[in-house]
Symmetry: C2
């Protein structure tokens, strides 16, 4: 078993739990947030920066790395860990999300997906088997099956067809998973139809994956629908396997996901928003470009202990951001990731000390006012 | 005396020397290279990164900071050191170079310079007095007088007029220098006319500045002209004051400047070229985007001990650079600045150990082949 997961603490009043996940490249404490390094790098940072920030695991993307430079090329260079200079755990997404996000550039059939490369227009084929093979070449600690993600607006029949296909692909993937150096996660689909999701989760459980992801959420459906679907789906996933909700979300979303029993999260929001001048703080979001910060001597977040908040004023960060200085995006990326990772530490501490209910309530009360 | 300079070692066969320069924000060993943070930030880095790189002093620009956010605004925020989060020495250029580089947007008269702002087109006036006042508000450790820099192609009469004006401005600046928290350097002009430069240097020396810069070099004239002018000018500058050649240059240029008795250097080349994918190495320059590095497992420079070379392959850096990932520019900026600062350490060591002649010869021989 390349992955070993054990639950260490449970919140008595919700499905929230703390756990420990052992991977071939080390152990992480859950709930955990995975900074997104789609192309083998977290934008604006270096791997040593991720270490200093205390990131436990990084997410990358098999589709994008296979497109360029190629999985075999990375394997020849010692694998993705060596390539990125990151010796900790790596989870790689499969390309299933790109079936949704690049839907105008791909065609799905029962055997796989054909993409038209955004780089040079060439055709680029992924199958369930090739995606496992790619992730084996990359050396991922956690590989994801190829799935078909549909938009939140998908009709029941479209969602059903995508589930059938995703399940068929999951079976094909499971068969060859032994080639992987790490674990393989199945992905629950089913659109906004909770009975489809529950049925799909049960089918996937039958294949005994190393963990289970809930995919196809936060793709256009309403927030209350997201929470209902996530709660119902997560509830039937095995207690003794890690659960991952893909592409989510804000700090508040993460707390709500944790409350529903989710262990792993990823999202581009902290890094992407940072480059646009948006900082997450203990008092809500702020847009540092705002004129009102022009003479503000205070840090982004008075309650934050990140390198950016320890050293730089809002006035300075604002000046750099409106000048388009890349250092501004870097400094805010440090802050936002620190804020996310610190939020995860707080969540783990709250669960372990039986204070999650209160933590969640306080955060919800504080954040609701601030339009997080 | 806010600045104190003492020569600690001399090369017997050239004008090269080692020294120690005390400033209100600490001491630096010369010859020294000043990373350029024109707008109060070195592009792609944070001040903690500069500390980790071992930068001794940073250069910024009074013109650009006065234009935005304003010198009074920075003073109100605690001064430039506080604003940048940099507690080491800062030298600020005056805006004289912008008389050259923004010549289509400015008008020079005997009293000062009127710029049309590149930000909003508004008029923006600098005089010798206002430039000293601005640098006083910023809290510069080393302030530069306002000068008039002319292109390498300037006729003798244009160069003469610029010298007259620069000398007049230098006198006006010197009169009010006591308002500065640090030292004030005069700037030698004179175009490509060495008798003008020598005469101007003598005039400036009469004003007893805390140090002397040679300006208006590497602005279009031929390299052998640059070296001849620099050698003749530096030779008559006082032995007991620091000498600074402005905006120079490649590592080879710096070695040649050191050989002519220069103590301080600055240049955007290492940082700007880094963002374009060009790395300085012990074996010459390389353009990391080159296809030949696509599968290259080696570091940028096998002889380099910088964080980038310790961790990342050429193949990885190439991929990030051709993808336009900002982390690539960051990683190369670290490398190039490390290379420059390491070159300065080597130069100081060579001078102190009576090995500068050999060092210079070896570098020249090695680099000549490699089109540095």
């Amino acid at each position: 078993m390349p992955l070993k997961f054990s639950v260490t603490n449970r919140d008595p009043s919700s499905a929230a739990r703390c756990g420990v996940l052992d991977t071939p490249h080390g152990t992480l404490k859950t709930p955990a947030f995975m900074p997104v390094g789609t192309y083998g790098v977290v934008k604006g940072l270096r791997s040593e920066d991720l270490e200093e920030l205390g990131a436990q695991i990084v997410l990358s993307n098999a589709y994008h790395l296979a497109e360029r430079p190629g999985a075999a090329e990375i394997q020849a260079l010692g694998g993705l860990h060596q390539f990125m200079g990151w010796d900790g755990p790596i989870l790689t997404d499969s390309g299933g999300y790109q079936v949704f996000s690049l839907s105008d550039r791909c065609q799905v059939d029962d055997d796989g997906v054909t993409f038209q490369s955004t780089l040079d227009g060439s055709r680029f084929r992924l199958t369930p088997e090739s995606v496992v093979e790619i992730q084996s070449q990359l050396g991922s600690d956690i590989a994801m099956v190829l799935d078909q993600c549909v938009p939140g607006s998908a009709t029941r029949s479209i969602a059903e067809a995508a589930v059938r296909r995703t399940q068929d692909w999951a079976e094909r993937s499971r068969t060859i998973a032994t080639c992987l150096p790490g674990g393989l996660f199945g992905i629950v689909q089913g659109g906004v139809y909770s009975d489809l999701r529950v049925a799909h989760a049960e089918q996937l459980i039958g294949l005994d994956f190393d963990g289970y992801a809930v995919g196809g959420l936060a793709v256009g459906e309403k927030k209350n629908v997201t929470w209902a679907l996530l709660g119902e789906t997560a509830a039937i996933l095995p207690e003794d396997k890690p659960r991952y909700v893909m592409g989510m979300g804000t700090p508040n979303d993460i707390i709500e996901g944790v409350a529903r029993g989710v262990d792993l999260f990823d999202c581009v929001i902290p890094t992407r928003h940072a480059r646009n001048g948006m900082a997450f703080t203990s008092e809500g979001r702020i847009s540092i470009k705002n004129q009102k910060y022009a003479a503000d001597e205070g840090p982004l977040d008075p309650a934050c202990n990140c390198p950016t908040c320890r050293r730089y004023s809002r006035a300075y960060l604002r000046l750099l951001m409106i000048r388009g200085e890349m250092s501004a995006g870097i400094m805010l990326t440090w802050h936002n990731l620190f804020h996310y990772l610190d939020t995860m530490r707080s969540i783990r501490h709250a669960i372990a000390s039986a204070g999650f209910v209160e933590f969640r309530r306080n955060i919800a009360a504080g954040r609701a006012k601030l339009a997080d």
